[in-house]
């Protein structure tokens, strides 16, 4: 009941097609865009006003990595939320969220390359080959690239939605590997990465359940 009324309300208020609707998705997108940039400006502000503690470079490196992981998980929330609420419009925000995950991953990567290794490529290569946690991080970044390249409407069309969907399941792998990357750098206190692993398992579990139910429905 409640869900239905929310759906009716949102679809009348938020609409791209109806010129009379109060809020357009495009407006919401601008708001969301700014919200997503907030952690970035927080880091910049903190860095240049010396509020990130005694080791600010380490702090921004960690924060950017953390936000990349968080945005991956937020992106993976969109579909379950859609099932839960029936708000199919939510899918319109998914691309932006995913691209923000890539944005923070890029910042994270650049901080590592620039401020940790000072673009010493031989040292970086040695690190990638020798240190499993750097290896995982690097693979992860590379795995994000095909997802970014195929994120445009044109590419979705070109690939066909079936193949596109299949390709974008790579997100599950990237999110899982990001959790592993986090877990691997911790010295003794694994609480934080474990929380993210729990959240991710929940998000993937819901998908399995949903797939199971769809199969059942199809059989009937």
């Amino acid at each position: 009941m409640l869900l239905n009324s929310i759906q009716a309300w949102t679809s009348s208020v938020i609409s791209n097609k109806d010129p009379n609707s109060l809020i357009r998705t495009s407006h919401l997108k601008v708001v969301l865009f700014l919200v997503c940039l907030y952690p970035f400006f927080f880091m910049l502000w903190g860095f240049f006003t010396h509020q990130l503690g005694a080791n600010p470079i380490d702090t921004v490196t960690r924060l950017s990595g953390l936000w990349a992981l968080r945005f991956l998980l937020i992106t993976l929330c969109v579909t379950p939320l859609r099932w839960l609420t029936g708000l199919n419009q939510l899918v319109r925000f998914r691309r932006m969220l995913g691209l923000f995950a890539f944005f923070y991953a890029t910042v994270h990567m650049l901080l590592y390359l620039g401020l940790d290794q000072f673009f010493d490529w031989s040292e970086i290569w040695r690190d990638i080959v020798k240190r499993p946690f750097i290896t995982v991080g690097f693979i992860n970044f590379v795995a994000l690239l095909p997802l970014v390249v195929t994120s445009t409407n044109k590419m979705v069309k070109r690939l066909g939605s079936r193949r596109w969907k299949k390709l974008h399941r790579l997100t599950y792998f990237v999110a899982a590997a990001a959790c592993v990357h986090f877990l691997m750098l911790v010295k003794a206190d694994i609480r934080e990465p474990v929380i993210y692993i729990f959240i991710l398992s929940g998000l993937l579990g819901v998908r399995l359940l949903h797939a199971g139910r769809q199969k059942q429905l199809n059989r009937q």
Binding site: G53, N55, A188
Partner: protein
């Protein structure tokens, strides 16, 4: 004029508050910090203000001190690894503000393979020694470093007083175990209490000190008050904090980080740019306060004084 002379039976006002009530107050303040109310409370009274710390007036200078630029007092007292108070760098400075509890005297037990074992109150333990300033480099196993003006005295001088016997091959140190005062010990991040150890010749080396202060003042809780070890040629975690026990032993002590992960942390843990931590390189370090990384030096630059301790040893094997 009325001058109040306190009789011996007359308890000072500070002693009147029941310990539990006092503890609860502290707990409330701590909760206030963690839920972010701290800004609404006056910060005075939370921590012992830095200018109330005991100052060391006369300090002997030391030939072992480095001329390098010192890391700021602020960085040294807010960027700490002291898992007894939490695993973040900020946790120790946030939660060790009342540490150590001054209502109880700090005691250090010296025992094991020696002729003069005993339990010493902090003041008695420290009194016989001339305090020196030792400006040392400190290299953390995580890849950052500081330059810290410690105050202390050579550990060897104390150990000699205890007269170790011929079975004393190693010295084992133990940190206080008190989850009430050390909230980080309420979770099993490490196998509490924290234990560290040195070979007896490492312990007797003149570079090895017991520190009771830094920057001319007594130690703050987050830096390992009231008494801690400083071994400048080893990774920081070897320099155990808030010591309550020093024991002479025959067998190599089973230290906290070796127990936690023996493939990553060894008993010796000498600073060595050529032996990487399995997960990261040890070739470089970020000096806190600097932008570019600098090269890590063998034995943290103290090779002239300590390299001979390890002659003939394969340092890749005994990391």
């Amino acid at each position: 004029m009325f001058i109040k002379r306190r009789k011996s039976w007359d308890l000072p006002e500070s002693e009147v508050t029941d310990y539990k009530v006092y503890k609860n107050r502290r707990q409330f303040l701590n909760t206030a910090i963690s839920v972010g109310l701290a800004s609404a409370l006056p910060s005075v009274g939370l921590a012992k203000p830095v200018d109330e710390l005991k100052v060391f007036e006369t300090l002997k200078k030391s030939q072992y001190s480095t001329e390098e630029e010192k890391t700021t007092f602020e960085a040294i007292t807010t960027y700490n690894n002291f898992y007894e108070f939490g695993t973040s760098k900020e946790a120790p400075s946030l939660y060790a503000t009342e540490f150590p509890d001054e209502s109880e005297p700090w005691r250090v037990e010296i025992d094991g393979e020696c002729e003069n074992p005993g339990v010493f109150e902090y003041d008695d333990l420290v009194r016989p020694f001339t305090m020196e300033e030792r400006i040392y480099r400190m290299r953390c196993v995580e890849g950052w470093s500081m330059v810290i003006p410690w105050i202390g005295f050579p550990l060897g001088e104390l150990l000699k007083q205890a007269k170790p016997n011929s079975k004393a091959k190693y010295v084992e140190f133990t940190t206080l175990y008190d989850p009430e005062q050390m909230p980080g010990q309420r979770r099993e991040v490490l196998d509490w209490p924290y234990v560290e150890g040195l070979r007896i010749d490492e312990a007797m080396n003149p570079l090895t000190i017991l520190s009771v202060g830094l920057y001319g003042k007594e130690l703050l809780g987050q830096n390992g008050a009231p008494i801690r070890l400083v071994v400048p040629w080893k990774y920081g975690f070897k320099s155990i904090k808030s010591i309550v026990r020093i024991r002479f032993v025959e067998k190599m002590p089973y230290t906290a980080w070796v127990k936690a992960n023996s493939s990553e942390y060894g008993f010796y843990s000498n600073v060595n740019p050529n032996v990487d931590h399995p997960r990261w390189s040890q070739r470089k370090e970020r000096r806190i306060g600097e932008f570019l990384k600098r090269d890590t030096l063998m034995f943290n630059g103290y090779g002239d004084y300590v390299a001979e301790l390890y002659s003939g040893m394969d340092l890749k094997r005994y990391f």
